[in-house]
Subunit: 170 residues, 2 copies
DNA sequence: CCTTGACTTGAACCATGGTTTAACTAGTAG
DNA sequence: CTACTAGTTAAACCATGGTTCAAGTCAAGG
């Protein structure tokens, strides 16, 4: 049950160069070497790599991940530290999800804005005069919120059907 | 209703240097200049900045955002393109949310793993022999899934109470 | 013996997204 | 007039997260 860097790279769907880079950065202190100096991964090392992948996807930096790995290497005395680190990370991931959800809501508003503009064949319908120029109506978010309350399904508000698109493009 | 770069920086909670950087990158082609060459932002420019901020938070690159801005500058003929760009972006944001949710689930599993280890005062309880060394039990995810099914509330499984922590640390 | 393929290293290179610096200009308060 | 503040630019600088390259080692197969 020993794996070469190539095996692991394939298994984890990562370039081998990235695994070497992580090793250099101290993320893989547990990896053994064979008599020729080649990295020899154990089964359990793959578990570590899964954790590293998770942390990467959570947006943690290499330095932060390394801190966690260092704690792991110190054994049972750091169990609580590791728990608390993950607890904090879980909280920031929840925040990230909330932020993305907020951005998604904004994108939906903008899709409504463009859907209605496409239907009117001009963005003018949302514009009002402002000083010398023009601007989007200041109450546009209000308008959207009202439309949102009245409709039963978000998709009614924001989706342009395929046949409508042909008309709009034609 | 004209704003200096400093006004806008404060309003948007961004360094002025970032606004200048965006301008250089072509993200702010709509910003006017006064007689002394200083940037003079209009009310509507702030709407653009909100869109830019949203796109940044969605993980779009400056090049991608610039493409959208370029479409905006071309007027009503690009309304459908802009709609479709946002539609695609909304889809990728949904994927990002799903990915983060998956990572959060993994973090919860790991919190359970460490909570139980803390209670046992050693990670050994999850270890089995493997070749010459040891590894986390291969069915650990099964074990977690079962525990998850049996319990009524995720927090029962993963949360360590404050008073428990004192015991564990003492 | 020789080639081939997979590995090793350190160093250089790259893209992204800014930030900082130096030198300058314009408007305002004293 | 002086000093100060807020703006301007181009160019240099920075951190992050890799990727690529050059030069070399090793084991296996023909």
């Amino acid at each position: 049950m020993r794996y070469s860097i190539g095996d692991v790279a394939e298994e984890m769907n990562l370039p081998a160069s990235t695994l070497r880079f992580y090793d250099r950065k101290g993320l893989l202190p547990f990896v053994d070497r064979d008599s020729a100096g080649r990295r020899s991964f154990k089964d359990n090392d793959l578990n570590f790599l899964q954790v590293i992948e998770c942390m990467k996807k959570c947006g943690m930096t290499i330095t932060e991940i390394r801190h966690f790995i260092d704690l792991c290497m110190q054994g049972d005395v750091t169990l609580m530290d590791r728990y608390e680190l993950l607890e904090k990370e879980a909280a920031t991931v929840k925040e990230q999800i909330q932020t993305l959800q907020d951005q998604l809501d904004f994108l939906h508003y903008k899709m409504w804005y463009f859907k209605t503009s496409v239907e009117a064949e001009t963005e003018d319908i949302h514009m009002v005069p402002s000083g010398d120029g023009r601007r989007v109506a200041p109450d546009i978010h209000e308008q959207y919120r009202e439309a949102l309350e009245k409709c039963h399904d978000l998709s009614e508000l924001i989706e342009i059907e395929r046949d409508e698109r042909k008309q709009a493009n034609g």
